[in-house]
Symmetry: C2
Subunit: 361 residues, 2 copies
């Protein structure tokens, strides 16, 4: 662990900004996550950020995150002890201690809550996650792409109800976990794909906490935050304009809906629709796909470059709609099968954002 | 275990008849349960029926049963291996072997499946259950009346999906288990209130397997099966007549509805409505309560004295509507709170069937 980077109070703003951008509208709102992380660090000291290479093969890695519709999560605050309940249940089920935490998804508040938990428990946090962004469904993680089964999933609520799932595959994990989260009131804390470090090697995306920090720092230190963000993400600007319509409802444990953006300036006259399932899934213009999952689609404020979450987007907001490349593992055959357009019910093939926009200036 | 009674092939018919009567319309249909029990016994030999007194204090007792709407259970047959999946998960969670099985509820098919499982696993079956009848909800068990918490509940489906619940109380157990059963397609196998034998002492109803057997045998050997049944149950006949209306739907994991019986002969002109939630809950006549939970209300065929299940009752059936006393534990304050009329949403106090009908001939 020598030389492990520390995440302290000064890092939370940048991290929150980066997580928000990688959340593609979802992953839960970052404001509360940042507050909780700051409080835990100020009470318990900084969190050690470690690489998988720093950890023993047979140590238990516990990925954690929230499950539920962001619209619910924003109003249903946990007790702050849920991750302790998860850890206790994991250690009881496996008869071994958890040696490190990891964010299940780096996007949104889900990138920040694990920092609070790590600070409180005195556990290191792995610099990585299982998505590299936010995705709405439980089986949409890189361990599934790598062919691992979800052998142990634990879900807890703020009352201390604990449910242990041993599903036969990722789809059953999603069905069961979604249903349990609904019973818990629409959101819950979850340890997903609990596994030994050896299984995590090659099946998670390493370096994503550092990436979120870098995104946040580049933007914070820039004279032109939007330009800095586009540069650090190597993003394509799909449109600059104004939100003129928001349709959004919470159903089946998800926020679903769409946002229509009317182009402005050089984009005047264009109408882009972004379709949502917790996260921004697809951007469409006159029936043409501009970008789609698994690539990242993020709305940012035209002045501050702050990412706009699906539960906060509203009529009249001036935004840039950005698209940028997902982690390479999502572009494999298995990755596209699990989280490509067809996995979300769309009847078109995935084309990478770079290929779609290669000729644009 | 010396002197333990054996349940063999010859006992299944009588047992099925008794379980059906104690099912008060629910607990799952007995025909398939009897078939499965017969097959397991013919392949593995008879099942030892034991008293709690025969078992060690710290041995693990696993109550088992099905959860789900009877209308679904009748058509969604399990693999027959679900109880093995439950046992495996229980032993993994507790680190100790299961030493005996018990029916969670003696009523309906739920009184018979545990016999099949006990035969297959070579485990003894406790002569007792946790209800003394059938009840629709998970927390409506005598362990809850006795103040025990549901520390370990395991649910499995025929595919080998396993869910372990560690709920904070019986109500959460019901909500979570119901939701999981729905995800599994409307029914599932469940080990509910897994506990050491010491905890079961005084918190279960002993002797109910023997009772079901005795009911079945008395009726089978009688010249007048209906009279024999009424005598062995010490039952009140609420009405003799014809089913003239059945309203029944499956929703929220339950069969709900009502059955209207038109009196016949001496009862001509009377109309009795029986309200249902998986089981027969309440019998009403002109707004007056004739009998209610936790007492047992069972419809039986006027000729054969066969009990009529809620999922099979149909227009034109000639039936007797019987009511008889529940086990004494259900008449305690806690028992009435958990499974009395108000627990099912009715706005009246429980009066025992004996008190309601003390002056009737």
């Amino acid at each position: 662990m020598i030389g492990a980077m520390l995440i302290g109070l000064d890092d939370i703003d940048a991290l929150a900004r980066g997580c928000s951008v990688l959340g593609t509208g979802g992953g839960g709102e970052v404001t509360t996550g940042a507050l909780v992380a700051r409080q835990a660090i100020s009470e318990n000291g900084p969190v050690r950020l470690v690489a998988l290479a720093d950890l023993d093969d047979d140590g238990i890695l516990m990925p954690v995150g929230g499950i539920g519709a962001p619209s619910v999560t924003a109003e249903k605050i946990g007790s702050g002890h849920e991750v302790e309940f998860l850890r206790e249940a994991v250690e009881q089920a496996l008869g071994k201690p958890v040696i490190a935490l990891m964010a299940s998804e780096i996007g949104g508040g889900n990138g920040l809550y694990p920092i609070a938990a790590a600070a409180r428990m005195g556990l290191p946090l792995v610099d990585g996650d299982a998505i590299g962004r936010a995705f709405p469904e439980v089986h949409m993680v890189t361990m599934n792409v790598a062919g691992l089964l979800p052998e142990l999933i634990v879900i807890a609520d703020e009352r201390r109800n604990v449910v242990v799932l041993r599903p036969i595959d990722g789809q059953w994990a999603e069905r069961l976990a979604r249903s349990v989260a609904e019973v818990f009131g629409g959101s819950a804390a979850m340890a997903d794909y609990v596994m030994p470090v050896s299984a995590a090697r090659g099946s998670i995306i390493e370096g994503t906490v550092s990436l979120a920090l870098r995104i946040g720092r580049e933007v914070a230190s820039a004279m032109d935050p939007v330009a800095a963000l586009i540069k650090v993400l190597d993003a394509v600007t799909l449109v600059e304009g104004k939100v003129i319509d928001v349709e959004r409802h919470t159903a089946g444990g998800f926020v679903r809906g769409s946002v229509v953006v009317e182009g402005h300036g050089a984009d005047a006259g264009r109408l882009i629709r972004v379709e949502i399932q917790n996260e921004n899934l697809v951007a469409l213009e006159d029936g043409e796909v501009l970008a789609s999952v698994p690539d990242l689609i993020t709305m940012v404020d035209t002045q501050t470059a702050d990412a706009v979450a699906t539960e906060n987007v509203r009529y009249g907001q001036r935004i840039l709609l950005l698209a940028f490349a997902c982690a390479p593992i999502w572009r494999t055959t298995a990755g596209i099968e699990i989280a490509g357009p067809r996995a979300f019910g769309y009847d078109f093939d995935y084309v990478s954002v770079e290929d779609r926009h290669a000729v644009r200036p």
